[in-house]
Every structure is written in structure tokens, then in C-alpha cells.
């Protein structure tokens, strides 16, 4: 316990040593890296076409997102637009978040260390004070309905660490979250016997 307190104190001292510019540069680089991966994952997993119609797809999409802990912020069923919001780490559970964070943490710390030195080793993902916003569209195409999902984070409370906020979810969390939503969506469609 005493050792832990000592570590915490050291970390706090190290945090105090990094300048604002260094912190900002670190987060900018993290953002750049995560942005590239975010784009790549969205291109791969963000859009799917289902052989169904909008009347079936939209309620299924709304239910699926509700099942993963998101609530409706705005919607237009006729146009196929749905925006949902939830406190991070939703749509992931705490356990799923930890699992995703573990995978991405080395990369985060590697980038951060280049700018803030030792402090970078103490950087972690902070879901506290963040909301996840998912914009979903369901647009009718020739052979069915094209469903698309994009996700962003929004700050609702300042970070405890004093580090600037990231704009993008950790890549593994994006991947895991999308797969989870698609699974729920397909389950909803199946239960409506439209898949």
C-alpha cells in the first residue's frame, strides 16, 4: 500500500513536470494515429447492406443500440437517421473496455512517451467524463438497406489526469463496439424474421 502511494506521488510529480505544449503534442500524435485506425476500421466494419426494408431495419437498429446501453438522442425513422448517446465505455461493458484498452495501451504509451518522457508510462484511457455518440444511418439501396455506423467521444467532465482529451475511441474499442452492435442488430432482424 505504501509502495502504491509512493508510485502515485511519483506519477503526480512527473505529471507536473510536463509542459502543456508537450502534453498537447502527445495527444495530437495519439489522435493522428487513432484517427488513421478509426478510418480503417470504419471502412472495414462501419457499413453493411442487409436484404430488408427500412421499416424493419430501423426499429431493429434502434433496439440493437438500446441493448448495448445507448439511448436515443435524435431520430428520423422516415429518413433513416438515428443518433444515440451513452456514457463511455458504452456500448462496451467495463470488462470489454478493459480488454480493449489493454490492447491499445502500449501504443498509447509509446506515442505519449516520445513527447512527455516518463509521464507517458502513466497515461491511460479515461472513460470517465466522456460520452460516446453513435450516428447511424439506414438508407435504402438497390438490394436492401445500407446501415452505417460512426462513433465519436464527447467530453462532459474534465479529465482527472490533466492530460488533454483524445477525440477518438481506442481502435480495439471501436472494432469491438461495432462487432457487438452488428451482432445485436442481426439478432433483432432474425427475431423479426427478416434476415
Amino acid at each position: 500500500m505504501r509502495r502504491f502511494a509512493l508510485c502515485l506521488l511519483s506519477a503526480a510529480l512527473v505529471v507536473g513536470c510536463a509542459t502543456d505544449d508537450q502534453k498537447r503534442n502527445a495527444i495530437n500524435d495519439v489522435n493522428s494515429e487513432f484517427r488513421v485506425q478509426y478510418e480503417r476500421i470504419l471502412a472495414e466494419l462501419g457499413t453493411r447492406v442487409y436484404r430488408t426494408n427500412l421499416d424493419d431495419a430501423f426499429p431493429a437498429l434502434r433496439s440493437a443500440l438500446g441493448r448495448v446501453g445507448m439511448r436515443v438522442g435524435d431520430q428520423s425513422p422516415r429518413m433513416g437517421y438515428l443518433s444515440v448517446v451513452g456514457p463511455a465505455p458504452a456500448p462496451l461493458t467495463d470488462a470489454e473496455w478493459r480488454s480493449a484498452a489493454e490492447r491499445d495501451l502500449p501504443k498509447l504509451r509509446e506515442i505519449a512517451t516520445q513527447h512527455v518522457g516518463v509521464l507517458g508510462r502513466f497515461v491511460s484511457f479515461e472513460p470517465e467524463g466522456l460520452e460516446v455518440i453513435i450516428n447511424a444511418t439506414a438508407l435504402e439501396v438497390r438490394n436492401g438497406v445500407e446501415i452505417s455506423l460512426t462513433a465519436r467521444m464527447r467530453e462532459i467532465a474534465p479529465p482527472k489526469s490533466g492530460m488533454p482529451r483524445r477525440e477518438y475511441l481506442p481502435p480495439s474499442a471501436v472494432r469491438m463496439g461495432l462487432e457487438k452492435i452488428w451482432n445485436e442488430f442481426e439478432r433483432e432482424l432474425r427475431s423479426a424474421r427478416t434476415l
Binding site: 471502412a43 462501419g46 457499413t47 438522442g73 435524435d74 429518413m79 438508407l139 460512426t150 465519436r152
Partner: protein, 598 residues
């Protein structure tokens, strides 16, 4: 016509004398630019067709015509300006100014034939590269300054400099395009948003008269273009800046010296901040002065403000009134600020002094500009009040006539003859809410003689009258008329009423009601409503803030022919990722298609 993205465009292979159109290069609020082939010289050319979508439309026989009779004068005047400025531009032979070969009239409009330049716009370049380094930026800026100086020296200002209007040739040299031929011609349009590029236009451009505009106006826009190139986004819009300066919002322009710190030289950043000074008198007054700052020399002492480069004497008196009425748009600015005590009706504003106090604050400069505009509106208001009195007496006379029994009533079985009306007048709707007062619109009467009621104001006239009331600050009157027209299903009135709800003028302030109005207008296919919905999502008013959805609405507005939404679309697009932009664009297409279907 030919292309879903440009429904007003002429089709490919359409012949204009010896030019054969190949495809659309782009469309703005004032016209469509085509890639065409000069079959005589067998070379490509760019042809710009005058088609101000706000006031004119394409007919099935390919001719262009004003949307209504009341738009005709504005359309004609704009057309004349288009031709005159094409002739002027043709005199310039500068490598960084678009080369105009010819201008001709056809299809009841005019066409400007220009050299076709291979390459891409600076806007497209910035979209790809996000930002430009200092060396690259100067390679664009300095040649443009040379060309622009030539134009200024000839007594013209561009008035619409922005990344979209700077073309980067394949060899990397820049060329300035799209001189604002008709920029003033639509000065009394219902809003100013179509006249200026948000973020790139200085505050003085939001006014109808060109008296305050000069080289400093273009210098601001060029500064804003450079700001976009270093910051990755356009600077804060001048209207938003004005609110920040007056303290009604927290929005301020983050200086270039902060945005570009450590990435660009202090000299460049300071010159940009100087160019982006809010008040025109605080900016460099000439290209030469600004160039000196950019080059690192000490700025020359600010000269006395030169005469406007577009002398007022060149504008005929019959044109001045429409330009004053262009203040309808400026009134939106006034509207946005009218909650301030110094703009409360009934409290006369101090007349602007010929010699302003030394170094006034930005807020003081803004107040003076507003007071100046108010004085102009007051004169016009007087004239309109007289007209309104005449209209009232005419209405009373008609009502009396209607109350009298018909001298020779036709048999009941005979259907009443149709009444020919110049302007269709909708039936007054029953008020849905107590505060809604339907206008006393004359009901159709079964009379065979040409009805004198045809002189009663139609919806278009009532709308114009309400917009004028709004412009002169009679928000209560404007709101009452807008409400009645909105009840009758006028999408434009819904948008205007929504604007009033946003600022709480003449009606209670309510984002929710504003949103309802904009949605109602959208349901009727109004492209301006789509832009307003974009604004609501961008600012999070009445809805959760959401740039993705804002982009979708702006895209819909642009696709529906609202070129004014393009600036905001770009600004918001810069905050989104490629995949998000693509998806939001698809949603916008859906919105635009649905609006068109209605």
C-alpha cells in the same frame, strides 16, 4: 436538366454559338460554370452562365427567366452588371487573373467565356492536404496579390475571395476566379447569406451598400483564406465575431498568431491578424501596404481612407433603393443584436460622427455601423408607411364594395365564373393559436368583371412587406404577417418566423418553435430551411449538437441549389472524418431527394 447534381444546368452537347458544352464544372449562387469546346479554335474553354438561383430559374426551352415579376428588375440589373464586368475583366491580362475571352447574350441570359485552367481549386487542395506550409502558402498568396492589385488599381474589388475561387494550375501557379459580377445586383435579396461566404467575408459585406467596401474588403477575405490554409478551418464568421465583440456570446476569433504559432513565421501570422481586423479601418488599406507587412517591412502609415473603389456615382439612383433594401439581410444582423439596449426601438441612436473618436473599440465601431444602417432604414420606413396607408384605404374600399349586394345576381344554378388573378391568393386559415392573427386577405367573389381585388397584395407582396418590416425593426408586425403566411403554408415565411423565434424578436424566443418552423419549411422542399436545420445541429440549438447531422443538412441544402450553405458545409466537413463525411453526404442526398419529391 442534364445532371442530377446540377438540375438547372444545360445538357452536355448543348450548343452556344460555336461553343459546345461538355460538362458542369461547378455551380454557385450566381451561375453555372461549364467546360465547353470552342469548335472554331478547337480548344477547351470555361463558360459561366448567369443564373442567380435566388431570383431566376431555367425554363424547359433552356431560357432563363426571373422567378416572379417582382424579381425581374433585380435579375435584369444583375445581368447588366454581369456583362459590364465581363467586359472590364477582359481588359486585364495578368497571369493570376482569370482570362476572359468573350461575353454574349443568349437564352435571355449572358455567358462569359474564359480560358479553361487545368488543375484544382485551393479548396480542393486544402481538403486533401488540410493545411499548407508557409512556403507553399506564399507561392499562392504573392502572385494573387499582384493580380488583385491590378484589379484594385482599375477601381474594382473582387468581393468573393475564398479557397473555392482560387484555382491552382497544374504547374502550381494560382489564378483568381469568379469576380463577383453580380454581387451587388442581388443586394436586396431576402438574406445576405447567399451574397457572402461565411468566414471569408468581412462584416461590412453584410451590409447592402458598397460604400464601406474597398481593397480592405478583399484583404480580409484573402487573410481569411490564408487562415484557412494554416488552421485547417475558416475563421469565425464575421457575424459571430460581432456578437462576441459585443459580449452577447463568448465566441472570439482565435488569432492566427495562436493558431499557427511555431509552425509559421511571426511576420506572416501578424500580417494575417492585421488583415483579419474586424473594423475595416484597422486593416491594411491597400495591397501594397499589406505586401510590405508580409515581406517584413514596416507597414506604411495608414493613409486616409480612400474613396470607395466602386464609386456611388456609378450606381443610378433607381438602383440605390433596392440596395438599401438589401438591408433585409443586414437586418438579420440588426435583429441578432437588437436585444441590446442601444438598439431598442424608440431610443434614437447617435448619428455617426464624420470624425470618429480616435481608436474606437471594435464594439463602438460596430455600433456606429449599425446606427448608420438604421438611419437608412428609417428613411425607407417612412416611404413604406405611406404605401401601407394607401393599401389600407384601398382594402377598406374593397370591403365596402363587397358588402354591397351584387347589382345583377346570376342564377344560383350557374357556376361562378373563374376569376383571373395575377397572383394566387390563398384562403385565410383559421388561427390555430390565440396570438395568430390571420391577415384580412380578400376572399374570391363571384364577379365576372375583372376584379379590382387583383390589386390586393398577394402572398408574395405580403411576404416582401413583412420582410421589410423585419428590416426596419418592426418585429411584431413582421412576426404577425409571417405567422399568418406560415399558417397558409408559405415555407419562406416559416423560415423567417423561425429566424425570429431564434432571436426572440416579435415573438418569444424559442429554439423549439424555430426548429418546428424550419422542419415545416423543409417538408415543403425549402432549401434555405435545410441550411437553417444545419445551423441548428451545428450549434446544438433545439437539438443535441451534432456535426455529422449538421453536415447532412448542409449537404442537402447545397444539393437543393442553396450555394450559400457551401461555406458552412466545408467548415463542418473539416471536423469530420472521410468516412463520416461520406455517410453524412448520403444522408443529405436522401434529405434533398425527399424535399424534391414533395
Amino acid at each position: 436538366m442534364s445532371d442530377n447534381a446540377f438540375p438547372d444546368a444545360l445538357p452536355p452537347q448543348y450548343g452556344l454559338h460555336w461553343y459546345v458544352l461538355e460538362r458542369v464544372l461547378g455551380q454557385g449562387g450566381f451561375g453555372i460554370t461549364y467546360l465547353a469546346r470552342d469548335t472554331n479554335l478547337d480548344q477547351p474553354v470555361a463558360i459561366k452562365e448567369y443564373l442567380p438561383v435566388e431570383v431566376a430559374t431555367r425554363r424547359p426551352d433552356a431560357t432563363v427567366t426571373s422567378r416572379t415579376d417582382e424579381h425581374d428588375e433585380r435579375y435584369r440589373w444583375g445581368l447588366e452588371r454581369f456583362i459590364r464586368e465581363a467586359r472590364t475583366l477582359a481588359r486585364f491580362d495578368h497571369p493570376n487573373i482569370v482570362r476572359v475571352h468573350s461575353v454574349f447574350e443568349l437564352n435571355n441570359t449572358a455567358y462569359m467565356v474564359m480560358r479553361f485552367e487545368e488543375g484544382e481549386t485551393l479548396a480542393a487542395l486544402l481538403e486533401r492536404r488540410h493545411a499548407l506550409g508557409e512556403a507553399d502558402l506564399m507561392r499562392v498568396l504573392l502572385p494573387i496579390l499582384d493580380g488583385l492589385e491590378l484589379v484594385h488599381n482599375a477601381g474594382f474589388i473582387h468581393r468573393d475571395i475564398k479557397p473555392d475561387n482560387i484555382h491552382i494550375r497544374s504547374d502550381g501557379t494560382p489564378v483568381l476566379l469568379d469576380f463577383g459580377s453580380a454581387r451587388h445586383s442581388l443586394g436586396h435579396s431576402r438574406t445576405v447569406t447567399i451574397l457572402v461566404a461565411p468566414g471569408y467575408a468581412p462584416f461590412e459585406q453584410y451590409y447592402s451598400s458598397g460604400e464601406n467596401q474597398g481593397p480592405w474588403t478583399d484583404i480580409y477575405s484573402l487573410g481569411a483564406t490564408c487562415y484557412r490554409a494554416i488552421a485547417g478551418r475558416a475563421p469565425l464568421d464575421a457575424i459571430a465575431r460581432s456578437k462576441g465583440i459585443l459580449g452577447s456570446t463568448q465566441e472570439i476569433l482565435v488569432p492566427a498568431t495562436a493558431v499557427g504559432s511555431a509552425r509559421y513565421s511571426d511576420r506572416l501570422l501578424k500580417a494575417l491578424d492585421h488583415a483579419l481586423s474586424f473594423a475595416e479601418k484597422d486593416r491594411p488599406q491597400s495591397i501594397a501596404e499589406w505586401r510590405k507587412e508580409l515581406a517584413g517591412g514596416k507597414p506604411a502609415p495608414a493613409p486616409a481612407k480612400p474613396a470607395p473603389v466602386i464609386p456611388v456615382s456609378t450606381v443610378s439612383s433607381s438602383r440605390i433603393a433596392p440596395m438599401v433594401w438589401g438591408g433585409v439581410g443586414a437586418a438579420i444582423v440588426i435583429g441578432a443584436l437588437a436585444a441590446l439596449p442601444w438598439l431598442v426601438p424608440g431610443k434614437p441612436q447617435p448619428v455617426v460622427q464624420a470624425e470618429p473618436a480616435p481608436a474606437p473599440s471594435e464594439a463602438e465601431v460596430l455600433r456606429r455601423m449599425m446606427a448608420d444602417e438604421q438611419q437608412k432604414f428609417a428613411e425607407e420606413r417612412k416611404r413604406m408607411e405611406e404605401a401601407a396607408r394607401e393599401l389600407q384605404s384601398e382594402r377598406r374600399r374593397l370591403e365596402e364594395e363587397r358588402a354591397k349586394p351584387a347589382p345583377s345576381a346570376k342564377p344560383r344554378s350557374e357556376p361562378p365564373p373563374r376569376i383571373a388573378r395575377a397572383t394566387p391568393i390563398p384562403e385565410p386559415a383559421a388561427p390555430k393559436a390565440a396570438e395568430v392573427t390571420p391577415l384580412p386577405l380578400p376572399a374570391p367573389t363571384p364577379q365576372s368583371a375583372p376584379p379590382p381585388a387583383a390589386r390586393a397584395p398577394g402572398p408574395a407582396e405580403l411576404l416582401a412587406s413583412a420582410e421589410r418590416a423585419q428590416a426596419r425593426g418592426d418585429y411584431g408586425e413582421a412576426a404577425t404577417t409571417f405567422k399568418a403566411l406560415a399558417e397558409n403554408g408559405s415555407p419562406r415565411a416559416m423560415v423567417r418566423l423561425g429566424d425570429l423565434y431564434l432571436v426572440g424578436q416579435g415573438v418569444e424566443r424559442s429554439d423549439e418553435l424555430a426548429l418546428r418552423m424550419f422542419r415545416g419549411a423543409y417538408e415543403k422542399g425549402d432549401s434555405e430551411a435545410q441550411q437553417r436545420l444545419g445551423d441548428m445541429y451545428a450549434k446544438g440549438r433545439g437539438v443535441p449538437q451534432n456535426n455529422f447531422h449538421a453536415y447532412a443538412w448542409y449537404s442537402a441544402a447545397v444539393l437543393s441549389g442553396n450555394a450559400a450553405a457551401k461555406g458552412e458545409q466545408e467548415r463542418i466537413g473539416a471536423t469530420l472524418q472521410t468516412v463520416e463525411v461520406e455517410q453524412a453526404r448520403k444522408l443529405g442526398e436522401r434529405y434533398a431527394r425527399a424535399a424534391k419529391e414533395r
